[in-house]
Symmetry: C2
Subunit: 567 residues, 2 copies
């Protein structure tokens, strides 16, 4: 491709509204343009990279035995009503009516469509197991679209669905997808971790998220540097140690009221009493499916709402209002576990064995100090209901856990029978009995992978494409296009490389050399070949984008060199 | 691929609601399934054929110098309002609101999006000409979706847009697309005609439709069997000859009233007077942008509304009501050109020189006979405002024109400056002057091509795929899967052919041979290889789907034979 003709508008300046590096670079390198919030056009160079990812995804999915198909984006509302998600999904599901007033959803995911299709077409155990996938556009009306392709409203996804006869069959299908995902992300050049995730209210068992490691990531990963353990923050568990006592502790002292006028937050209290927040017991009053519950945990830690929901077996948790707290016989900002007889209490493991602690006194402007959990709080129900905090240890090997930020690029999920039972997808087994199919679902954010790759592969000058995804492998740059010798040699090389099967972008633009070199760095193809003054000697300057190493080659050596470089 | 595992549900019976052969066969062969009216899922086998078409389209578009990109389906309403099409497009344009109440259209076509993008990114003549294309899903809420993929509401389209500096530049871009389309449809195995079409109110000049010839087609093509002339019925012109006079004609007789009680249609009048309808002059009273006009044409012919609009220079034509006809001094059913002084009259060329004709008398239950157009109707304005009728001659070579039915599979269109002026896409020329870009647009109904191919390539047993599009090239069929010799030989052949690069579907199902042979004919891959009783002699039965020729080969000859067959 000759660059003079290519629609590849590069920008010198960082666009103001682009926060993420990948977003900035994709705009600057002319890969994408925004049409509306969270909605992008792929320009020719960006589309090429996206297509390379799709090719890798197809190859690995096919190799894993999955069959490609293609489902529509317009879903009749009846399907989503049948699964119950028409109401549950909320405003993220985009909806419209056709000219006859029939309601449709724009597919945010395809469980309903695929399950209904398989229900109609597969009836016998002989056709199972079956894994189907598609690469298709999804629509999710994100509350806050941002970071370019990382969180869009119209995006490209690979979604796969497996149908099995048994839980052990699902294990096999799940593992095949897990392995395919490892291959896909590895081939895309991503640094990633497969982390345990919460399976939510669906009732599935295993679920893993594939996280590309990047500071811009919106997910927190907890992982063990010593063993294989990794989980997202929603799911991660750790071991906590309560060390020492606070500076105001008095051994064997009984709970004593202390006047703390206007001190309602952990931070204020810690400053007011000059103690660390881990010596305070935080009491949080929540409404769990309509019933008030007091949640106790160490003052320096945060409640994990998903864990709490599981432990309490509820769907919704909200904070109690001030008047509801008053109705419990307490005061907002001064809640504590002592003297609250009639309310359910759940305690995080982090306060187990704590002594010399401070709690709210259930009275305005007062706390209690010298509280010994075991002695003073009676028999508590303990559970893991916190986010893992800094300094906690691995539950498998005891090593201190580490934290990282990740971009969720893939997700594998054991669905079980939620959809097959809800939508009636059953098969007849060897004995003539009807059984619901056991399902799994598996997603890859194809367009998000593109952004994640750039988050990991760039420097201050621009993108550094992995060879597998580069829109063009070679950037051929003619310094002076008005110099006949340079142009003739460039043309010769362009045709030789193209014939040999390399994808080459030839910068034949009438631009200053500085502009061309800057654009080449910004676009970041693996190998840059510059044809300049030494064209009359048939010498080419090679520069490798990733290593930055530069060297000269005679034209006759070029093809052999490319074979080695790209092998 | 092993058929036992493939999601390829074939049906024995013709589905009741499928009228078109392609629709019936695509359902029966398990290529597609309907999700909702005009909305289909592609099952694995159908998707493969669709992807082959996409590959051909990409190769030919790239070869023609077009650049692939990808635009979103969600379009902000503002763009469609800016072009004026938000109101004009009507209920075919699907619309929705996002969570913030912003209006969007689901892209029915992408002129607005591409023109806005090019306007923002291209400013200099140096970057022109430019042709961009995408293969993308389109949404049109058809009033009457039908014929499966031939008229759907969500469908796959290749749309391209060219941007030029001059009309002659557009000619070059247009011709490149025209040639690419010829290559694409030829490679897809389609019998087609490029026909002249009407360019509508957009003010473009040239436009051609690519019509796949098929009886199910909803468009009528007029073509000359002797020269290259071909046009769709909207656009086609012909030469008409008025032969002889009617049986009731009296030479030199003056117009005479004839009592025709209750005779208000051409058909009735022709029977009542025992004359052919070509001796009657039809007088049609219409409202053209609010002004009444009387249209005269030969009784056996039909008004062509598009031609009439062009000739009158109006946007809308409706029929006059009975009371409006009365207001003109006439009577519905008895309108005629004589005695209607105050109304504009336009005459089709077909009545030029007609004598001894019958017209309405503008009086209830009366017509006038013995009318000589030249003598009695004064100076008329003549134009071509009819649909070409049977028996008309080619305007280029005089040969009698022929009629055929076609499916519109492609359309090339010179847009001119409608969108570039409306949306402000201009460039700066060599002299620093700002000029609007000159645009063309070019569409291919990718999913419709799939259906059109099947309309042309089938027999009573099933589909007969062109080699270029067949989902699998070879159907390997094992007669008895419980026979170890047959299975071993099948496996050997399957691996050998797959290694050699052929796509093979291996029917390894435990089904009766009759079921397998019927399915193989229905699926219609080019070459069927049957492994049966002669497996112990290493003999294979070959059958070519298209020619029906069958022969036996030794396994050792197979690869060479395939090379020849598929070369």
């Amino acid at each position: 491709m000759r660059q003079q003709r290519l629609l590849n508008p590069t920008l010198r300046d960082v666009p103001g509204d682009a926060e993420a590096v990948s977003h900035q670079l994709m705009l600057r390198a002319g890969l994408i343009r925004q049409l509306s919030s969270g909605i992008y056009s792929y320009l020719p160079t960006g589309l090429k990279a996206l297509q390379h990812i799709q090719t890798i995804v197809r190859e690995e999915m096919d190799r894993a035995g999955a069959q490609e198909m293609l489902m529509p984006a317009l879903h009749p509302a009846e399907l989503w009503k049948a699964s119950g998600r028409w109401d549950v999904y909320g405003p993220e599901l985009m909806r419209l009516q056709d000219r006859g007033g029939r309601e449709f959803a724009l597919g945010a995911t395809h469980e309903e469509v695929i399950t209904t299709l398989v229900k109609d077409e597969i009836h016998s155990y002989k056709k199972l197991p079956l894994t189907l996938y598609q690469i298709q556009t999804k629509y999710r009306d994100e509350r806050r679209p941002r970071f370019g392709l990382l969180r869009g409203r119209e995006f490209l996804m690979k979604d796969a669905y497996s149908f099995d006869r048994s839980a052990s069959g699902l294990d096999v299908s799940y593992q095949a997808m897990y392995d395919a995902y490892v291959n896909i992300f590895t081939r895309c050049g991503l640094q990633f971790r497969a982390v345990e995730a919460d399976s939510g209210a669906i009732g599935g068992t295993d679920t893993h998220e594939f996280m590309a490691l990047a500071d811009v990531g919106e997910d927190t990963i907890v992982h063990c540097p010593s063993c294989q353990y990794a989980a997202n923050l929603e799911k991660a568990a750790g071991l906590i140690t309560n060390k020492g006592t606070s500076s105001i502790d008095v051994p064997h002292a009984q709970p004593t009221k202390v006047h703390t006028p206007g001190v309602t937050s952990i931070k204020q209290l810690s400053q007011f009493l000059s103690i660390e927040s881990q010596h305070i017991i935080k009491s949080v009053a929540v409404q769990a499916d309509g019933t008030p519950v007091i949640v106790l945990l160490r003052g320096d830690l945060e409640i994990n709402e998903i864990k709490l929901k599981h432990v309490l077996g509820v769907d919704e948790i909200t904070m109690l209002t001030e008047s509801e707290i008053t109705a419990l016989g307490s005061v907002a900002g001064f809640i504590g576990p002592i003297g609250l007889a009639s309310v359910r209490v759940i305690a995080d493991n982090s306060i187990q064995g704590l002594a010399g602690a401070v709690v709210g006194a259930n009275e305005a402007d007062y706390h209690l100090q010298h509280v010994d959990v075991q002695r003073d709080l009676g028999t508590l129900t303990y559970a893991d209901i916190r986010n893992v905090g800094q300094g906690e240890s691995c539950i498998h090997c005891g090593h201190e856990l580490a934290f990282a930020k990740g971009i969720e690029v893939g997700h594998v999920f054991k669905l079980g029978t939620k959809y097959s039972e809800g939508l009636g997808a059953s098969y007849t087994d060897e004995n003539g009995l009807s059984e619901p199919m056991i399902m799994g679902c598996y997603g890859i954010g194809v367009s998000r992978v593109l952004a994640a790759v750039i988050e990991q592969h760039h420097d201050e000058r621009g993108i550094i494409w992995p060879k597998t995804l580069a829109p063009y492998s070679i950037h051929l740059l003619t310094v002076q296009v008005k110099d006949e010798t340079q142009m003739a040699l460039s043309e010769e090389i362009y045709h030789a490389l193209t014939r040999a099967g390399y994808s080459v972008l030839w910068d034949d633009r009438e631009e200053r050399p500085g502009v061309k070199f800057n654009d080449a760095d910004l676009l970041g193809f693996p190998l840059r070949l510059t044809i300049g003054k030494k064209a009359n000697e048939r010498m080419v300057e090679c520069k490798e984008r990733r290593s930055d190493s530069a060297y000269e080659l005679n034209v006759e050596q070029l093809l052999t060199h490319c074979q080695t470089f790209f092998n």
